[in-house]
């Protein structure tokens, strides 16, 4: 059984202009101890997918349909209190901006201790000791429990966020662009730390727009476009031979320091998700568009990979 099995998930935002289909019919599975990256442009729905999994989509967003089976339970059906007990305890989350993700008025230790005490019956002293051990685990001196967030740098704060996210030993860690707000050197270290967290029998979902980073670190990559999951498969395969023209475009638009090749920019913009193009949502930007693309492509299985594109329909299905 998979650790996380998202099936036909639809998360829509209800605005005055209409219904925005941020996550539209997405299915994705995550195995235990697996490192999966979800990549895509800003606004493609990757963060909404992550927030849907821990059921923290902000109003006016709503999970409309689908299943999120985690460890045998469908999270969509859980009560708010059951969900609260699961958050932090079984699914941890690291956020994009470490500068604003910690409460400025509480000591680092207090924030960790509060998280532990909400879920486990331990006395405060024990929880404080656990807090400094956690900080040491993420590469910070244990006495930083007595520090306030403003006394730490961005990288240090992101380490604290990771310590907070794994403080209850969750089986799944979701990291929503954890390195976007950090400089390159610190990025590397935070990514190493995330990989370390995987060693502790934990699956990781990394949300990122950095394809190179995803290819470098993860077991599998899922590519999202305009609310759709358009390709999902093993990281090295997907990076070397992308199937979907959008994946190809994404890889082609990333400069490579080691290889001398031209950058091929992708033309056009992400479509309006309230009024998306008919048929395939990528068609207006697709260099390989065909007549059949006026109909929505189904999801095809090609070579152990999942791809939502008509190109693979003729031979396979």
């Amino acid at each position: 059984m998979m650790l996380l099995d998202v099936k036909n998930l639809k998360t829509y935002f209800y605005s005055k202009r209409g219904v925005l289909r941020a996550v539209d019919n997405v299915s994705i599975g995550v195995d235990r101890r697996e490192f999966i990256s979800i990549v895509g442009e800003s606004g493609c729905g990757k963060s909404t997918l992550a927030y849907s999994i821990i059921r923290l989509v902000d109003t006016p967003g709503k999970i409309v349909d689908g299943k999120i089976v985690f460890d045998g339970r469908d999270l969509v059906k859980l009560s708010e209190e059951e969900m609260r007990r699961l958050r932090g305890k079984e699914i941890g989350m690291v956020f994009q901006d470490p500068m604003t993700s910690l409460d400025p008025l509480e000591k680092i230790g207090d924030q960790i201790v509060e998280t532990i005490i909400e879920h486990e019956r331990v006395d405060k002293k024990e929880a404080w000791e656990k807090a400094s051990i956690l900080l040491e685990k993420v590469g910070l001196p244990g006495d930083r429990v007595n520090y306030y967030p403003h006394q730490l740098s961005g990288g240090q704060r992101q380490r604290v966020m990771i310590a907070l996210a794994v403080s209850l030993n969750p089986k799944l860690l979701i990291a929503d662009e954890p390195t976007t707000a950090l400089d390159v050197i610190v990025q590397e270290k935070i990514m190493d730390l995330l990989e370390d967290m995987k060693k502790e029998d934990r699956a990781i979902i990394l949300i990122t727009h950095d394809f190179a980073l995803a290819a470098d670190r993860s077991d599998k990559i899922a590519v999202m476009y305009a609310g759709w999951l358009i390709e999902f498969g093993k990281a090295n395969k997907l990076a070397n031979e992308p199937l979907h023209p959008y994946s190809e475009g994404l890889i082609g638009s990333v400069p490579d320091v080691w290889e001398d090749r031209d950058i091929k920019p992708m033309l056009g913009f992400l479509p309006d998700l309230i009024d998306p193009p008919k048929g395939c949502r990528f068609k207006p930007r697709c260099p390989k568009a065909m007549d059949v693309c006026d109909k929505e492509p189904p999801t095809f299985s090609v070579d152990g990979r999942v791809v939502k594109c008509w190109l693979y329909g003729e031979n396979n299905g």
Binding site: R84, P104, L164, S167
Partner: protein, 336 residues
């Protein structure tokens, strides 16, 4: 925390020049104003030589600069001088007689204003965009613009004259004062378990404190609403929820964060509170510093007015110092 001590000492020392400047301004403005205490006291029909003798007694015949420095040195010694009219009682005694009434009114008014402001602001923020939110926002603007004497009289008419529920003036029914311990009637009644006096003093303070509280609450309503909405949308609130922290505790953290600017406002509002108290006291014949100050300005009782102003200034300085300390204790980023 050593730096906090240094900060408190610096702040306390800064009170000295503040009070000095205020005192100088008040001293000269009073003397620039037409009329003087002798003229106000004796009127027009007294022979000039008598007036001259009275002026000499009061020290008003000396050059202004000499009067100023004499007064300054007396103040430094803690001597507020004597009243220039009616019995020449020591100013400090007269102030001390009236200060408890003002203190009691400001405590009640201040508490009510923060309470009303925080409750309405929090309700508005949590019901953002609803009709309740709109009504709270209208409330805050209306409350802020109310003119105290007008609003006070309205409540006097309603609760006192028509409904006959509450007294319309004074601190307590004469004769039912509790045994003096702190001179704060409500507190003294509680301490001596004198329930008649407690009910009596509470019924007297209710209307003036409510007027003061409502008028000053508007600013808190707005500030807390806007801050709470801002804080509730911040990442660390989502992060708390994502760690499974109970909603009740998340709200507690949000309130604590949203409260910091409110504390700043409390310090700033305190001077306005005292000014409002002057108006409230005159409207409700409250025998405090406000009525005293107004009366003595009319009689050009220089020493009394100066004394009262210095006293007000020290009071405001003390409160803003306390506010700053609370602020520093609450927000680790501000600890100097």
């Amino acid at each position: 925390m050593a730096s906090l001590k240094a900060y408190i000492v610096t702040r306390a020392l800064l009170v000295i020049p503040t009070v000095l400047i205020l005192l100088t301004v008040v001293f000269f403005i009073l003397r620039i104003l037409p009329g003087d205490p002798i003229a106000a006291m004796v009127g027009q029909k007294v022979p000039p030589e008598v007036v001259e003798k009275l002026r000499e007694e009061a020290g008003l015949n000396k050059p202004l600069i000499v009067q100023y420095f004499e007064y300054l040195f007396n103040i430094l010694r803690g001597d507020f001088g004597k009243s220039m009219i009616w019995g020449k009682r020591p100013v400090i005694d007269e102030i001390m007689l009236r200060f408890p009434a003002t203190l009691e009114l400001t405590i009640f008014g201040f508490t009510l204003s923060v309470l009303i402001g925080v409750i309405t602001g929090a309700i508005a923020a949590f019901r953002r965009g609803s009709k309740i939110d709109s009504s709270m926002r209208i409330y805050s603007i209306v409350a802020y613009t109310l003119f105290i004497p007008w609003f006070g009289m309205l409540l006097q008419m309603l609760c006192g004259v028509y409904l006959k529920l509450l007294p319309i003036g004074g601190r307590i029914t004469p004769g039912s004062e509790p045994t003096t311990i702190t001179s704060l009637y409500v507190l003294d009644s509680l301490l001596t378990l004198n329930f008649n006096a407690l009910i009596d003093s509470l019924s007297h303070i209710f209307l003036p404190a409510l007027v003061l509280g409502i008028v000053l609450s508007g600013a808190y309503t707005r500030l807390l609403r806007n801050n709470l909405i801002d804080v509730l949308s911040q990442d660390f609130i989502v992060a708390y929820r994502a760690r499974g922290v109970r909603e009740r505790k998340v709200v507690k953290h949000a309130m604590k964060n949203a409260f910091i600017p409110v504390i700043t406002l409390m310090g700033l509002q305190f001077a306005i509170l005292l000014a409002g108290a002057v108006l409230t006291e005159t409207t409700f014949s409250w025998p405090g510093m406000g009525t005293f100050l107004l009366e003595r300005i009319q009689y050009r009782d220089y020493t009394s007015v100066q004394g009262a102003i210095v006293f007000y200034a020290l009071f405001v300085a003390l409160i803003s110092l306390i506010v700053d300390i609370v602020y520093a204790l609450l927000d680790p980023r501000i600890r100097y």
